[in-house]
C-alpha cells in the first residue's frame, strides 16, 4: 500500500469516526435541553380553568385541589429532584380565552406542559395548536368527549369520565339493577347531550331495553313542562337525564309534579354539583324518593378517602370547606405526577407523553383505574351510582365500567 493510499484511508477512518462520535454524542445529549420549562431543579406547568364567570364552580376548587397535590409532591422533594412550579390563569371556559392562555403559556412563559380546562368546547378549540406545537396536555376536569375522540397524541383527558362513560354506567345500572324495559333519555342539544344520548341508546339496546323517547333540550331552558309531559306519555320505567344543574332541578320538580316518582330518575353528575343545594332547589322531597346520580370517585362511600382529601384541601385553603367538584381536580394531577415520575430524570416532552400513554393507575380516590394507551386518551371509564334522598347518599352495589365500544 502506498503512503498516499494509507494517508487517504486514515483520513476516511478519522472522518467516519468523527461522524459516528458526533452522532452518538448528539443522540446521548438529553433532549431536555431543547424542551422548555425544565431546569435541573424545576418543572414549569401552565395551569388554567374557569376562575371567574358563570362557570367558576367547575374550575375554582379543582384547580386548588390539583395545586395542593403538586405542593404536596414538592414538600416530598419534588419529582426526581425537580420541584413543580405552576402558573395559573383564568380561561372563563371560553374557547377564545383558552386559546389565548395556552399560547401565552407556550410562547411567553415557555412551560413544559399544560394542565387545565373544565369545559369540553373550550378545550377542543386549543387542541389543534397543542398537537401542532407538540405540548403535552392533561385536561383538568373537562369530560372532553370531543377532545379525546378521536384520540390525538398530546391531549390526555376525561380523568373523571366522558359522557360516554356516564351514559354507559347509567344504562347498565338501569338495565341490570333496576331491570328496566323501557327507557327515556333527556339530554341537552349540545356536544355533551349528543354523546350522552348516543351511548345511552346503544347500551340500553345492548341489554334489550327499548328507548321509548329521547328529549333534547337547550341548556338555558326555563320550562320543562312539555318535555316532561312527553316523557310521561311515553311510559318509561327509567329516566336518564344528562342535564346541567339548573335544568336538572326543573326536571326533578316536574317529575314530582307530574306524579312520575315511581319511575327511577337517573341524573348524570354534571347536573348535581352540590347534592344538598340540589335538594334545596328542588324543594320537594318526593322528587328524590327514587333518585340516583353517577359519580366517578370513592369519597362518598369511603369516609377515610373523603376525610383525607377534604382535610388536605382545607389545610391549603385557610380552612375553607371545598365544593364537591374539588374531587374532580384530583385524578389529573395524580396522573401527571405519576407520569412525570415514570418519565425519569431525563425528562422530555416526548418521554412524558410516552409515560402518560402507558399509565394504568389505581389509587384510593377512584373506583376504577386511570388508563391510557396508544389509541386511548380518555382516562376514567368506571363509575359508581349514588342513591340520594335529599339527606343521605348511599353508594349502590358494584361499579359500572364502559367497555370502550363506540355507539354506532
Amino acid at each position: 500500500m502506498s503512503k498516499r493510499a494509507s494517508k487517504r484511508r486514515f483520513t476516511a477512518c478519522a472522518v467516519t469516526t468523527a461522524i459516528v462520535a458526533l452522532t452518538a454524542t448528539a443522540s446521548m445529549t438529553p433532549a431536555r435541553a431543547e424542551d422548555p420549562g425544565i431546569t435541573d431543579n424545576e418543572i414549569l406547568i401552565g395551569m388554567f380553568g374557569p376562575l371567574s364567570g358563570p362557570l367558576i364552580a367547575y374550575g375554582i376548587d379543582p384547580v386548588q385541589a390539583a395545586k395542593m397535590l403538586y405542593e404536596e409532591a414538592n414538600k416530598k422533594g419534588g419529582i426526581h429532584g425537580r420541584k413543580i412550579r405552576l402558573i395559573v390563569e383564568d380561561d372563563k371556559c371560553s374557547p377564545n380565552d383558552i386559546v389565548s392562555v395556552v399560547k401565552k403559556f407556550v410562547t411567553i412563559d415557555k412551560v413544559f406542559m399544560l394542565h387545565g380546562g373544565s369545559c369540553t368546547a373550550a378545550v377542543s378549540a386549543a387542541a389543534d395548536y397543542i398537537n401542532r406545537e407538540k405540548i403535552p396536555y392533561a385536561m383538568l376536569n373537562a369530560a372532553g368527549d370531543n377532545a379525546v375522540f378521536p384520540p390525538t397524541r398530546y391531549v390526555f383527558g376525561s380523568f373523571q369520565g366522558t359522557q360516554r362513560a356516564y351514559a354507559a354506567a347509567f344504562a347498565t345500572f338501569g338495565a341490570q339493577f333496576l331491570k328496566a324495559k323501557r327507557a327515556a333519555v333527556i339530554v341537552h342539544d349540545d356536544e355533551y347531550g349528543k354523546a350522552n344520548a348516543a351511548m345511552a341508546r346503544a347500551t340500553f339496546e345492548k341489554f334489550g331495553v327499548e328507548v321509548v323517547i329521547i328529549e333534547r333540550i337547550p341548556p338555558n331552558i326555563s320550562d320543562l313542562t312539555a318535555p316532561m309531559l312527553k316523557i310521561r306519555e311515553a311510559k318509561p320505567d327509567v329516566i336518564l337525564s344528562g342535564a346541567y344543574p339548573a335544568p336538572a332541578v326543573l326536571i326533578a320538580q316536574k317529575y314530582a309534579e307530574f306524579g312520575m316518582t315511581a319511575i327511577p330518575l337517573l341524573q348524570a353528575a354534571q347536573g348535581i354539583p352540590t347534592p344538598s343545594v340540589f335538594a334545596k332547589n328542588v324543594a320537594n322531597p318526593e322528587a328524590l324518593e327514587n333518585f340516583y346520580y353517577t359519580w366517578a370517585f370513592n369519597d362518598i362511600g369511603d369516609a377515610a378517602v373523603r376525610t383525607k382529601y377534604i382535610d388536605l384541601f382545607k389545610s391549603y385553603n385557610n380552612g375553607r370547606e371545598p365544593g364537591p367538584f374539588m374531587m374532580s381536580g384530583i385524578p389529573s394531577a395524580v396522573a401527571v405526577l405519576a407520569a412525570l415520575d415514570a418519565a425519569g430524570r431525563d425528562l422530555t416532552r416526548e418521554g412524558f407523553v410516552n409515560a402518560m400513554e402507558k399509565l394504568n393507575l389505581k389509587f384510593d380516590a377512584m373506583p376504577g383505574p386511570l388508563e391510557f394507551g396508544p389509541k386511548r386518551r380518555d382516562g376514567a371509564r368506571t363509575m359508581v351510582i349514588i342513591k340520594y334522598d335529599g339527606k343521605t347518599q348511599k353508594v349502590m352495589p358494584g361499579t359500572y365500567t364502559w367497555d370502550g365500544k363506540e355507539a354506532n
Partner: protein
C-alpha cells in the same frame, strides 16, 4: 362624493399595513394571536357601528352574520375545496343577502322592537349553527384546515397576521370612503332625525336596508378573517356575550367614529388579558369591573373615549374665543380619520 379624502386620512391605514407586515417578525405568537383577535373584532365592531353609530339602528343580529362568515368560509374552503377568497366572497354575499332579508322588515321597526326582532334572528342563527349537524358539525363544533391563499398557507398566527391586517386596512378604507359618500351622509341624517331625512327626500327605508346589508357583509368579512388563525368553531362562541363584547367596544371607544371604534377594540380587547394577571382572589370581580367601566363610559363619556379626547382638544382654543364658547353645541358629523 361629499368631499374627498385627504392623504393624511390614510396614515392610519398605512400604519395598520406596516404593523401587519413588521410585527410577525418581532412578536411571539401569543401577542400575534391577540392582535389577530383584536383586528377581527375591529372589522366586526366597525360593521356594527355602521348600524348603531351611523344610522342609529339598535339592531343586534350582527353576531349571526359573523357566524355566517366563519361557517361559510370554513365549509366552502375546507370541505368543498373552494379557494379562500372565493369562499370569503360567497360568505359575504350570503350574509349580505341575509342582511337584506332582515333589513326589509327591520326597517319598519324602531327602538326596543328592532332590538328584540334582530336579537331573535341572532338566536335563531345560533340555533341553526348548533343543530344543523351535517353542515355545521352541530354541537360538536367544526374543525377546519388553515386556508391557503395563492399558495400562501395561513394557520399560524404569524402567517395570518399580515392577511388579517390587509383585511382590516381594506375595511377601514371602505368605511372612510363610505363616510364621505352620499350614502354615509344619508345614514347620519336618518340617525339624527328620520322625519327630517324623509322630508329632505332621503329614501329612509332604502338606506336602512342598505346599511343592514353592508353591516352584514362587514361582519361576514370578520368571520372569514377569524378562519385564518383559528382551526375550530363552536356555536357557543356566537352567543349574546360576544355581541355584548363588540357593543361595549363601540360604546366605550366612541360610536360613529372609526378611530373611536378602534380605540374601543384595543381597550376592551386588552382588558381581559390584563385582568387575567390579577391576583386570583380578585378574578371574580372581573364582571363587576367590566360593568363598572361600561356604566362609567355611558355616564361620563357618552361619546366614548375618542369623543372625550376630541372634546378636550377642541376645548383648548375655545378658551380664547368667547364667542365660540357661547355658541350652541352642534353634534359633530362622523369622524372619518382612522
Amino acid at each position: 362624493m361629499y368631499g374627498s379624502l385627504r392623504a393624511s386620512e390614510f396614515v392610519g391605514v398605512l400604519a395598520i399595513l406596516v404593523a401587519g407586515f413588521a410585527l410577525p417578525f418581532m412578536l411571539p405568537e401569543y401577542f400575534l394571536y391577540t392582535g389577530n383577535m383584536l383586528m377581527t373584532y375591529a372589522v366586526l365592531a366597525i360593521g356594527l357601528d355602521l348600524l348603531i353609530g351611523w344610522s342609529g339602528q339598535f339592531a343586534f343580529a350582527h353576531i349571526a352574520f359573523f357566524g355566517i362568515g366563519i361557517y361559510g368560509t370554513a365549509i366552502l374552503e375546507s370541505r368543498l375545496g373552494v379557494p379562500y377568497l372565493l369562499s370569503a366572497l360567497a360568505s359575504a354575499l350570503i350574509a349580505g343577502g341575509a342582511g337584506l332579508l332582515i333589513g326589509f322588515p327591520a326597517a319598519r321597526l324602531k327602538t326596543v322592537y328592532l332590538a328584540l326582532a334582530t336579537y331573535a334572528f341572532a338566536e335563531c342563527a345560533q340555533w341553526v349553527f348548533r343543530t344543523w349537524d351535517p353542515v355545521t358539525g352541530g354541537s360538536d363544533g367544526l374543525r377546519f384546515n388553515p386556508p391557503v391563499i395563492f399558495g400562501y398557507e395561513t394557520g399560524t398566527d404569524g402567517a395570518a397576521f399580515p392577511v388579517v391586517a390587509i383585511i382590516l386596512a381594506l375595511v377601514v378604507t371602505a368605511t372612510l370612503y363610505l363616510a364621505k359618500s352620499k350614502l354615509g351622509r344619508h345614514m347620519c341624517a336618518i340617525r339624527d332625525s328620520e322625519h327630517v331625512a324623509s322630508a329632505s327626500g332621503i329614501d329612509v327605508r332604502g338606506i336602512k336596508v342598505a346599511t343592514f346589508a353592508i353591516s352584514a357583509v362587514f361582519a361576514s368579512i370578520a368571520g372569514s378573517a377569524y378562519t385564518l388563525f383559528q382551526s375550530f368553531i363552536n356555536a357557543d362562541v356566537l352567543g349574546a356575550s360576544q355581541l355584548v363584547t363588540v357593543l361595549t367596544m363601540v360604546v366605550i371607544g366612541g360610536s360613529s367614529s372609526i378611530a373611536g371604534v378602534l380605540l374601543g377594540v384595543v381597550v376592551v380587547g386588552f382588558l381581559p388579558e390584563i385582568l387575567r394577571a390579577m391576583p386570583h382572589s380578585l378574578l371574580v370581580w372581573q364582571e363587576f369591573i367590566y360593568g363598572a367601566i361600561l356604566v362609567a363610559a355611558i355616564v361620563f363619556m357618552p361619546q366614548g373615549l375618542w369623543g372625550l379626547f376630541r372634546q378636550r382638544i377642541a376645548a383648548r382654543p375655545r378658551r380664547h374665543d368667547r364667542s365660540a364658547r357661547e355658541s350652541p353645541a352642534v353634534r359633530p358629523v362622523p369622524e372619518t380619520s382612522p
